[in-house]
Symmetry: C2
Subunit: 355 residues, 2 copies
Amino acid sequence: MKIAVLPGDGIGPEIVAQAVRVLQALGPKFDLEEAPVGGAAYDVAGHPLPPATLELAKKADAILFGAVGDWKYDTLARELRPEQAILGLRKHLELFANFRPAICYPELTAASSLKPEIIGGLDILIVRELNGDIYFGQPRGIRTSELPLFKGAREGYDTMHYSEPEVERIGRVAFEAALKRGKKVCSVDKANVLETSQLWREVMIRVSKDYPDVELSHMYVDNAAMQLVKAPKAFDVVVTGNLFGDILSDEAAMLTGSIGMLPSASLDKNNKGLYEPSHGSAPDIAGKGVANPLATILSAAMMLRYSLGMALEADRIEKAVQKVLAQGLRTADIYTEGTQKVSTVQMGDAVVAAL
Amino acid sequence: MKIAVLPGDGIGPEIVAQAVRVLQALGPKFDLEEAPVGGAAYDVAGHPLPPATLELAKKADAILFGAVGDWKYDTLARELRPEQAILGLRKHLELFANFRPAICYPELTAASSLKPEIIGGLDILIVRELNGDIYFGQPRGIRTSELPLFKGAREGYDTMHYSEPEVERIGRVAFEAALKRGKKVCSVDKANVLETSQLWREVMIRVSKDYPDVELSHMYVDNAAMQLVKAPKAFDVVVTGNLFGDILSDEAAMLTGSIGMLPSASLDKNNKGLYEPSHGSAPDIAGKGVANPLATILSAAMMLRYSLGMALEADRIEKAVQKVLAQGLRTADIYTEGTQKVSTVQMGDAVVAAL
Ligand SMILES: CC(C)[C@H](C(=O)O)[C@@H](O)C(=O)O
Ligand SMILES: CC(C)[C@H](C(=O)O)[C@@H](O)C(=O)O
């Protein structure tokens, strides 16, 4: 099985290296091929997603992705900036279904900003659409305003849109996921203001008819941002568009206090996928050997389960992670008094040993 | 001084009634004229913002607004739904600058989902643009998709846009506010993805040159949703567009745990304004006499300060509210053990007495 390994920028290379060690510890099962992506690719090839990297990603069975972005690329034109690599991969490979679990690990409850009784035991899943919405909508650009009050002024504009089949396919993904979990889907939109959301809601209601065992509810995005703070455990699966999903999945991840632990998967319709930690490239701590590799290691486990049909091996990795947490090992981001602070490599060592 | 009183739906009438009593307790200074708005207006006049209500709002010196919305109007066509009243007032009166303070009152720290050390003493101000963005952008609607993959399918679409003068005027409002506070402005956008945000950021940087004493920073909206959870006290003034402001201001309000205490102001360029509580119409508790009137009472205080030039009277009201909190009086939403639970009217009584 061929895995494209794309470490990227910031802490990406450090954390991906540990996930690769964990995969290798399972035996000689994988053909791992590495390629540059993001700022690192811009540095060597003049583009954040060079053709060779995209080709590798296309022919691989799955992609293990680190993170992209660094302040030093802030002055580049947008089409050359590191973020374009991840946006390009999602679009070119039609990775439309983004799974972002927000889990509060029992051992890490204290790391959350929230009170333990509110956050303890949280296990929700945000399903974010990744190929549509205002992210890729045309037309977009800078033009001259036609509004009477501002006529002639420069104006930036973007187009939000979703078609029925796009909403339907992500809806089905969310309902299928809910069937295997708590059997509740909360669809988040802004249907009291946006036409896109009105269509979104209409389609979700239609799709829900095929899933009589799953309870569908609707929530405006502003209210969802509040309810996640007030009573996050009331959710099971949340399904939403690309833009709202970007905001809410990050909010939910941070609520847990264990964002350094949270994996994510971005899948196409055949369950080929890209796997990456929910956190970013954290350039401020890059190269210091303190980053938490567990979200990437757990992303590798998700990859085995969803794309490579190796559920047993996925279980083994997840159990190994639980074991190192139970042993009290913590990287700096999840360290609390009474636990043992370890480096990125030491955490990798411990997971490999636990395997 | 003429004040338009628009109670609206749900708990709106109950809480506005208490704010009106507080204003009247200041003496015979105000010409208060009431009109229906939202669902209540639809019921009597067939439209959520009848011409007579809009006329009254236009000729008044300020508007005291309750809340709009109720499930029973969910099946109405969008242009007839209660929300259109508030959107219409903001647009027709050019109320472009929305002030949404997120304050954690010392007496109410325990009501928050967050740990006291994270949230205690929070005092930030979200400045949300209210007249532009995807809320009012044209074109919008339902059309046939032109995307190769989904060609011919129904597609909902909306247009996000901001022109330079629109960004500049809300930017100036935020910088002026910061000068009177902690001298920091964080501008929130999604400039790594949206053209609208790129122009937004460019203009904010330009405006900041006129405010050398204020520190400007930029944050992507997904990161802002996280940082509000992780370290809300790191913010002073947050300035953002209509859509991101909708989401982040609600998130911030809920973080405090005292959303029932938070007032808001929506101002035009001459400081004429509409004042409303940050919370909504809460139809589930309407008519039960348990709603918290303090956000509306504090909105009336904001009105005196910003629109009517009566800062001393505003101070008096705010001190009276502090006094009732210190006395231990609490409506159900902010009740914690050891305090005294009171009704909407009893809370109004107590504030009037404290004046
Ligand atoms: C890097 C950026 C373009 C990206 C997004 O907005 O989707 C990131 O925030 C994410 O959530 O994966
Ligand atoms: C009622 C709704 C249209 C409104 C908005 O989205 O602006 C509300 O959520 C608010 O924040 O005042």
